[in-house]
């Protein structure tokens, strides 16, 4: 009897391996550190992230498969891994100041961020529904803990628990969808599913197959916070510790898109007509609900939560288009969104006080006079979010919408543009407070640590650089398209 050894290729998961090893080392080191020394864990994890990023960059252009084809590290996966690593690094940089202030300086923070990143990376490079599910669970479990990380704070606890309950619920849909797809095709390999479906029209017409696709779409929609599966977002974003909110709004959302794109485009092209309709509706709902509700939010974290819902809607526009520029636009958008959103959250951390009693938009009154440079930086991020040129956000939206126009979805692009015009209002409100209102009370001089300073510089350079010279990044994103 021959035992078939699976083909293992550790090269295909090298970035994941590095982070996992570093994370485990950190867990061990953590035991020996005093509370005020936990920042060393941050530096160590930055080293790990840096090395992983280096591996990602050198692997560019050389796709590798591993584990009998259940992972594929192609340019698509690599681009997303880059986004996750940048997001993780920026989060680690802004976390220290926050956890010290909130007195929740527990060492587990850094390993959890790294494990979550490993999960995201597996989602991006998974070419088997099981790998994707595995990645998603690694990510989600870490995030549940991270959302409730400030365990003495009631709101943070609430966020963690809510996220856990709803996340587990949505995972059920996803898993059910995967099971149905498996039932209809007899395989969980993404490429195999496509082959089976292409070979036989009976499979395509099987309702199991269709419902499987729909339920998977629901599961992913939850991850990317698309309406009507967005309800958790505002509560969780508001309650979670601010650096974690920043983290969640960037990487995990991108990971959801990575898996969503790969599953629909590679495994289920036979159902393209069906899922395009679905994405169209999700895109319109997500943009519109996100933007309209954001108009009335006073808490800035909550406002940015609804704004992030709206941004997922814009990305869905590019996804609906399904062409090269639209899909590459998503990659571009996710990366630049990481810069602008984490940048904005970094400012929120700086302005916040212990227990975060001052997260309202009105707490930014007079900020522009007290801290002109920080306010300018915040303005850059807000403008980018609003999609005003020459910031990166404008270019991103431009790619997404022009992709939709090129694919013939002119109306979708029109709704998108209309939405983004409406969104200006609530970003502008923050600026009105910053520049046109007198401070309500004497607020303290903001203390800024070096890591946060570095974060802001990286984010500003990212937002402006990708806005003024977008060609390079977009070129990379287009090279990352295997479809």
């Amino acid at each position: 009897m021959d035992l078939l050894m699976p083909v293992v290729n550790f090269g295909a998961i090298m970035p994941e391996l590095i982070l996992s090893v570093v994370a485990m080392v950190l867990l061990l080191v953590n035991v020996f550190l005093k509370t005020e020394q936990k920042a060393y864990l941050g530096y160590l994890s930055l080293l790990g992230i840096g090395y992983s990023l280096y591996v990602v960059m050198t692997a560019w252009g050389t796709p590798q498969t591993g584990f009998s084809g259940s992972v594929l590290q192609d340019n698509f996966a690599l681009f997303f891994k880059g986004i996750f690593l940048v997001g993780a690094a920026l989060t680690v940089l802004i976390a220290d100041q926050y956890v010290r202030r909130e007195e929740c300086n527990y060492g587990e923070l850094y390993p959890l961020i790294l494990f979550a990143t490993v999960g995201m990376m597996l989602m991006a490079s998974g070419t088997d529904l099981m790998t994707i599910f595995l990645g998603l669970e690694v990510l989600s479990v870490s995030l549940y803990v991270l959302a409730g990380f400030n365990r003495k704070n009631l709101k943070s606890n609430e966020a963690g628990l809510k996220y856990f309950l709803l996340g587990a619920f949505s995972t059920g849909f996803l898993l059910y969808g995967m099971a149905l797809t498996f039932g209809a095709t007899g395989t969980t390999r993404i490429a195999e599913i496509a082959k089976v479906a292409a070979a036989s029209s009976a499979v395509v017409q099987n309702p199991l197959f269709l419902v499987g696709m729909l339920l998977m779409a629901v599961g992913f929609s939850f991850k990317i916070a698309a309406a009507p599966f967005h309800m958790w977002t505002p509560d969780v974003y508001e309650g979670a510790p601010t650096p974690i909110t920043a983290f969640m709004s960037a990487g995990p959302k991108a990971a959801g898109f990575a898996a969503f794109i790969r599953v629909l485009m590679v495994a289920l092209p036979t159902l393209k007509a069906d899922w395009t309709d679905l994405l169209w509706i999700l895109a319109v709902l997500t943009m519109t609900i996100g933007n309209l509700i954001a108009l009335n939010q006073d808490n800035i974290k909550r406002m940015l939560a609804y704004s992030s819902i709206a941004h997922a809607g814009y990305a869905l526009v590019g996804f609906t288009a399904g062409n090269s520029i639209g899909t590459a636009g998503i990659l571009f958008y996710m990366l630049t969104y990481t810069f602008m959103n984490i940048g904005a959250f970094a400012i929120i951390i700086l302005v916040g006080k212990k227990g975060e009693p001052n997260n309202n938009v009105s707490d930014y009154a007079g900020f522009g006079f007290k801290h002109p440079v920080l306010a300018l930086v915040m303005t850059i991020f807000l403008f980018s979010l609003a999609g005003i040129p020459p910031m990166a956000g404008f270019m991103g939206k431009f790619y997404l919408f022009s992709g939709a126009v090129k694919a013939g979805y002119v109306w979708l692009a029109i709704i998108g543009v209309l939405n983004s015009a409406a969104s200006v209002y609530y970003y502008l409100r923050v600026m009105v407070f910053m520049y046109m209102k007198d401070p309500t009370e004497q607020f303290d001089w903001v203390k800024m640590t070096v890591p946060v300073f570095i974060t802001l510089i990286i984010c500003v350079v990212g937002v402006l650089g990708a806005g003024i010279w977008p060609a390079y990044l977009l070129g990379l994103a287009q090279n990352a398209m295997p479809f």
Binding site: K162, L165, S170, P228, M231, V410, Y435, W469, A471
Partner: protein, 675 residues
Amino acid sequence: MFEYVWLIPLFPLIGFAINGLLGKKIKNEKIIGGLGTVMVVCSFIVSALILLQLLGLPGEERHFEKTLFTWIQSGNFKADIGFLIDPLSVIMLMVVTGVGSLIHLYSIGYMHGEEGFYRYFAYLNLFTFSMLLLVLGNNLLLMFVGWEGVGLCSYLLIGYYFHKKSAGDAGKKAFVVNRIGDFGFLLGIFTLFWYFGTKFNVWTINFHELALQSHLLSTEATFGVITLVTLFFFIGATGKSAQIPLYTWLPDAMEGPTPVSALIHAATMVTAGVYMIARMNFLYIKAPQTLMVVAIVGAATAIFAATIGTAQNDIKRVLAYSTVSQLGYMFLAMGVGAFTAGIFHLMTHAFFKACLFLGSGSVIHGMHYALHHADHHEHCAHAADVDPQDMRNMGGLRKQMPWTFLTFLLATIAIAGIPGFAGFFSKDEILWQAFANPLHGDLNYVLWGLGAVAAGLTAFYMFRLVFMTFFGESRLIPEAKKHLHESHIVIVLPLVVLAILSVVGGWIGLPKLIGERLGNIPNYFEHFLEPVFANGHVAAAEGAHLSATLEWGLMGTSVLIAVVGISIAYALYIIAPTVPARFVARFPRLYQLVYNKWYVDEIYDFLFVNPCKAFGNFLWKGFDVVVVDGLVNGTAFVVKNTGGGMRYLQTGLVHNYAMTMVLGVVVIVGVYIFR
């Protein structure tokens, strides 16, 4: 010199960077203001050199594109950071940098001692940079970047006195209204891009390439894609250039400092819409229906804003409505295919309206100073509460401010359309083209009639302004009157230059009729612009079928109307100043209606603003709160008030969130299974 065109926007950008970053440290007003001004003057010099070089070339070679680098490249789509030099953009360059330099200089005097002096100059330089980008951009996207940039600066400068609530609100209003216009602009870009791409397989947004392709289009007799595209762009133009229905922000924008009103809200930014249509003339000429809409909106705005201008008492508001009305003329010109005439009026208007605004600034400055100083006297402690912008508090100022008066008078004569002055030539050209163009059939006579009546109203309200401000008895409290004096030389100097331009600026575009009489002087302006509007001229043929007698007759009529307008103003405000009050008392409703700007703001609030707010509130409170929590609102309320946070979250919201998800799943799957 063409190679160095990038220097033109670079100078103000440097000025912005230095003043914006270091201005707070520099503190010295002379250095900050001087730097800001010198940077724009440098741009002006480069622009002038480019103009000279352009004049040295034969007409058909007057087109040059300088590409700095490729901005966006994706597949077959490409957009450059590239600058376009042709007669049209060079005229705009001269106006923006020329008038801009004068206003920067003026601002040094006007803004003296204001808090945030550096901020003002940084914004003003940033504005100039954006405006130059808008003018020079060789593709729609780059133009859009400039378009957004000027909007942003306009917003920042309107809200400059942010501690005044009205200023902040006005800034917000300008921004929001402009976003509606920008939305139209973006839709236009997308639709045009898509249409040319699918029709000709040319995916481009470069003006020159678009113009080349548009030769292949046939004129759209019925409503088609080009009509739609041009209408989208026109929506953009109505926002930026304050036309019906999006004009409401401009009068409110007068909350900004007066030089800002002169530069942004009279001479340059608000003309961006006109420039954009002129730039896209090759498309508009293919869509006669859009042209008709443009012409009607332009003529309607011209007369509508003019009526409001007759009843305002705030000196800057009169000028604001006058600007809206004059912009209406420019759009009327665009709408009848007289692109040259529209750009000509854009230029002369920049001269005389900048002069008028700066003159009003000089008056306000003087009034403010006088009232402020009178306030220190014991027996008129409330002098500072007197509105220095209200013409009812002025009168007889010509004695104290002779230079301001003289320059203001010259500019007023120019705008009123008295022969020999700049405004006459450009306005008369527009009216003649409105009458004689072959595009709109009998509608022409209506357009001409509206334009002519608006011209009469313009003459009336402008001279009303002059008479109320500079003539008659002073209505200022005597204590304050003692402190009135002429403004500083840096304020007067730009006024003099602009006044001279308001007089002679029109002579480069003499109408053929007059030019022939004076010994065959050609219309230099028209010849210069000819290559840009080569297409346009075919449609707006000179109306040669009409006789010279008719043209003389129309010219005479419009002059007569202007003289009548001035005479009425003279009769009402000099000879019998009590009549207006009696008129108001006799027709209070009509007066209130006009004084309150036909209640358009209130109507917009009722129709759009309030419903939008309500809808947003409904979605938030209605959808998320009522529908989501509503099912167990009672429970949640009880739990919230009795139990701790944990119990609240277990029984309350999560349940409902999950419920919504299930509903979503059921609907999605149901629709797909049973469709």
